[in-house]
């Protein structure tokens, strides 16, 4: 029996995708903030990729200065609200909290962070503003965590900023990729509206930059260009039957899920291919959409999965079944998906090899491929002098975000190959400073 029945209304959807980190009440925030020890050079700060002064903002919440707390958070991270909800805090700040060493539950830093920032967003409290205009103009490609964060920082430095975004909404994968039980669309977009209201950058939606003439136009109009384009579509597997209608990429599946919620259809039996966090998300999501059997198939053993342990636990908790040491060889079906043919694998000296004669079919109605995102190489190769590394990541200076074409800067997934929202937000601030240093020369 499935754990969840198929949601048919927005309310049922919200119940099946109930928030893992719901908003705290004032009382909860008071109790939780009271526990923080105010560690010296706290390990939670060091563990936060954006270096938020965590004990400071928790102390501010505790003394009733929620606005000050939000300011502390936003000074370090423009996606403060989203990060509080979507960060893998178990392996970041909360994982580093000293309470863990005492076998006491760590401080719920993420939820406190969202608590304070939600307050200022809801009240549209003015905390920041653009710096005095310095005459510089910067184009930002992509309105994801990287692009938006870069734009905010550049505006505060006095630049005029225009963002070109392919899609119709801002925040990138925060609203098109992250699992709906981590953050709602409304929450993600409210923070975006808040930031745009504070900093006043321009966003051109439905405006993908894809051609050389467009690039030339940007170069003519702007002093510097920031590439916050993230990654691309789900990579193909090159399997027979991969193009059957019910065989979909995880990123595309989740993007649709985030947009249409319960209107998305999953079959009763779903096979998810992959062992990363996206695979865990897709499997959990399929289960919460009412799929009866969700099988998570991974080439190697359980322990070798790239996903965080807590993400796998989350999937297991909603009824997902793991199938390990199997490799897909064919998506079976005539008109639609009917199953996946697997071969068992063995790992010898780190090398995965197929076990001959061990093929078997897992019957199913849908296949979700969570086998990694491709890079947008065709687009990137249009930019003169831009170098990518062997894995398709844009090569850039870690302290300035500057690429091998000096007028181009980058950060986020496009540069790090795919990390978290917090990394994109933090690195984009650094890149904005790099742009400023470059243009101030």
């Amino acid at each position: 029996m499935a754990e969840y029945s198929t949601p048919t209304t927005e309310q049922e959807f919200a119940e099946n995708f109930a928030q893992l980190k719901p908003l705290m009440s004032r009382n909860e925030a008071l109790y939780e903030s009271s526990r923080c020890l105010f560690c010296f050079d706290a390990p939670c700060i060091t563990a936060c990729p954006s270096g938020i002064d965590i004990p400071q903002f928790i102390r501010q919440i505790n003394t009733g200065n929620d606005t000050g707390a939000a300011r502390t958070i936003y000074e370090a991270n423009y996606f403060g609200n989203a990060c509080g909800k979507v960060c893998p805090t178990e392996v970041l700040c909360e994982g580093a909290c000293v309470y863990n060493l005492q076998e006491v539950k760590p401080i719920e830093i993420g939820r406190l962070q969202s608590y304070a920032t939600t307050k200022v967003i809801a009240a549209n409290k003015k905390l920041f503003g653009p710096g005095p205009p310095n005459g510089g103009r910067v184009a930002v490609i992509g309105a994801g965590p990287a692009g938006i964060s870069c734009a905010c920082e550049l505006r505060s430095l006095g630049y005029e900023v225009t963002i070109f975004e392919a899609k119709s909404q801002p925040s990138g994968l925060t609203v098109y990729g992250v699992a709906p039980y981590k953050i709602t669309n409304e929450e993600a977009l409210a923070e975006m509206a808040y930031l745009q209201g504070q900093f006043g950058y321009e966003v051109k939606y439905n405006s993908p930059i894809t051609s050389l003439p467009e690039i030339n136009e940007l170069e003519a109009q702007y002093d510097a260009i920031f590439l916050g384009i993230g990654l691309g579509k789900t990579s193909g597997l090159g399997l027979p039957g991969e193009n059957l209608p019910n065989c979909v990429g995880a990123v595309e599946f989740i993007a649709e899920l985030r947009e249409v919620h319960q209107a998305i259809a999953v079959g009763p039996r779903v096979v998810v291919l992959g062992g990363g966090n996206t695979a865990m998300d897709a499997a959990s999501e399929a289960a919460r959409l009412g799929a009866e059997v969700v099988t998570l198939a991974y080439r190697r053993s359980k322990d070798e999965m790239g996903a965080y342990a807590f993400e796998y636990d989350l999937a297991k908790g909603v009824g997902v079944k793991g199938l390990f040491n199997v490799a897909p060889v064919e998506v079976v079906g005539v008109e639609v998906v009917e199953g996946v043919r697997f071969v068992r694998t063995a790992t010898v000296n780190g090398q995965v090899s197929e076990v001959p004669g061990s093929e078997f079919i897992v019957p199913c109605d849908m296949v979700i491929k969570a086998t990694g995102q491709a890079k947008q190489l065709d687009f990137l190769r249009l930019i003169p002098g831009l170098e990518m590394d062997g894995r398709g990541r844009i090569v850039a200076n870690a302290h300035s975000g500057q690429t091998t074409n000096p007028r181009y800067f980058t950060s986020g997934d496009a540069r790090n190959g795919g990390a978290e929202v917090v990394n994109a937000a933090a690195e984009a601030k650094v890149a904005a400073r790099g742009i400023h240093a470059f243009l101030s020369k």
Partner: protein, 457 residues
């Protein structure tokens, strides 16, 4: 099982836990309920002249998420009719003959005192407590702490009381005075049978930041009130000790102030109280706390081999000395247990900024290290450490020498100027002032810049 019963200046009670004169003893209903729950005695809410109370009467001091670590009130004495109170005292005594019911009284003239004492005793009160303590509302009318602060007046009134009282008389003292032993001595001279202390401390418990008014707020304004609850225990204990150690007071003392559990009660008893009274804790948690108090006290007595409360009344008093009789040769130093340390570095920053720069950080671990030469043994680090028994203060002297300031004074061996070899500061290492600069600067940087600055350090 140890015997918890007491005989306090002639007032018998099945255990030493009494409710203090306050709202929990406002009515026969409450006192009966308390006795039913296990309380040994009750000092009835003060009876006296007719009064009128304001609405909005209490204020609290919260510490982070902890409510009411301090409590304050601007209430007056009982506002119920005297006759009702007396009838209920009678009813309670009839139902609970072995429990202690003490009438708290506060009136003005000699005539009024005589009348109310007779009335209270006729109602069956086992004893009388004279409220010379209330620090608001009544003192403005020449009663309460206005009396308690004037030993001469206090003595006269107690003398009036002793003229007619046939039951034991307890004088309740106000802490709003420089030397608590003066009114205590006045009570003794007038022939009182016992004293109780402390009543509430004059206080402003907080100020409303938006209404610009002290709490509790009465129509946009407030007044000073009386402070009590856990926060006042240290003040109560010190005053208790002062009276208990005084060579001439020599009266049974009922300890009051900040008692909320058996430990607090035992502390009061060890410093000389032979009964204890509780107000705030009962107002906060209800009468049910008595079960924990009785069971804790019993367990403590079993473990210590005490059979009766008297076995340990004042047992800590011989160890409370004036500073100049403490052993200057005694030396402790902090020691960190790395297996317990969770790396919060509160000890480091406390000693660094608030003590003697005797703790340093170490590369490769978050566990700090004690710089023994610099440690003066002040205890601060062990007090801030959030882990139980992680920092211990270890004795480092041989334990063979004993020398006090008094002895040094007698031997003409005390420093007479700052540059004296015998002065403590001469041997007190401190870093160069300029070494402080830059140490905290990274903390003012936002986000990654800060993280990078820390990792570079």
């Amino acid at each position: 099982m140890p015997d918890l019963s007491i005989n306090f200046a002639g007032i018998k009670s099945p255990n030493p836990f009494w409710l203090a004169s306050a709202p929990p003893t406002n009515s026969g209903y409450q006192v009966m309920k308390a006795f039913d729950a296990g309380w040994g005695g009750a000092v009835w809410k003060t009876l006296g002249v007719p009064v009128v109370n304001v609405s909005s009467r209490y204020g609290g001091v919260n510490y982070r998420d902890k409510r009411l670590i301090g409590f304050n009130n601007i209430e007056l004495i009982s506002d119920r009719p005297l006759a009702d109170n007396l009838r209920e005292i009678y009813e309670v005594k009839k139902r609970f003959p072995a429990h202690a019911v003490i009438a708290s009284l506060m009136v003005g003239s000699r005539q009024e005192w005589h009348e109310i004492i007779r009335a209270a005793e006729d109602a069956g009160a086992d004893g009388l407590e004279l409220n010379f303590g209330c620090p608001h509302g009544m003192c403005e009318r020449g009663m309460g702490s206005a009396v308690g602060q004037e030993p001469k007046v206090l003595q006269t009134i107690v003398e009036w009381v002793m003229e007619v009282a046939t039951t034991p008389v307890i004088v309740k003292l106000t802490p709003n005075i420089t030397d608590i032993t003066e009114p205590a001595m006045a009570a003794r001279r007038a022939g009182a049978n016992a004293i109780s202390l402390i009543n509430t401390i004059q206080s402003i418990v907080g100020v409303d930041l938006d209404q610009y008014s002290p709490y509790p707020i009465v129509d946009g304004q407030g007044t000073n009130g009386g402070y009590c609850g856990p926060a006042v225990k240290p003040i109560a204990l010190n005053m208790l000790k002062n009276c208990a150690q005084h060579p001439h007071i020599k009266l049974p003392i009922s300890g009051i102030g900040g008692i909320e559990n058996w430990r607090d009660a035992v502390e009061h008893i060890l410093l000389g109280a032979s009964s204890v009274q509780v107000c705030t804790a009962a107002m906060h948690f209800g009468f049910g706390i008595i079960r924990e108090m009785v069971s804790g006290l019993e367990q403590y007595m079993v473990e210590k081999g005490f059979n009766r409360i008297d076995d340990f009344v004042g047992k800590a008093l011989p160890n409370v000395k004036p500073w100049n009789e403490l052993n200057l040769k005694y030396q402790v130093k902090a020691s960190i247990n790395p297996d317990k340390c969770i790396g919060c570095q509160l000890c480091y920053t406390a000693c660094e900024d608030g003590a003697h720069q005797a703790i340093r950080l170490q590369a490769g671990t978050r566990t700090p290290a004690i710089i023994e030469e610099n440690c003066v043994g002040c205890n601060l680090c062990s007090l801030v450490c959030p882990v139980d028994e992680c920092i211990t203060m270890l004795r480092t002297d041989e334990g063979t020498q004993h020398l006090t300031w008094n002895e040094r004074t007698a031997a003409h061996n005390i420093p007479t100027e700052f540059n004296d070899e015998r002065a403590g500061g001469r041997h007190h290492w401190v870093p160069e002032p300029l070494a402080a600069l830059g140490k905290e600067r990274h903390k003012t940087l936002p986000g990654k810049a800060r993280a990078l600055a820390v990792s570079k350090q």
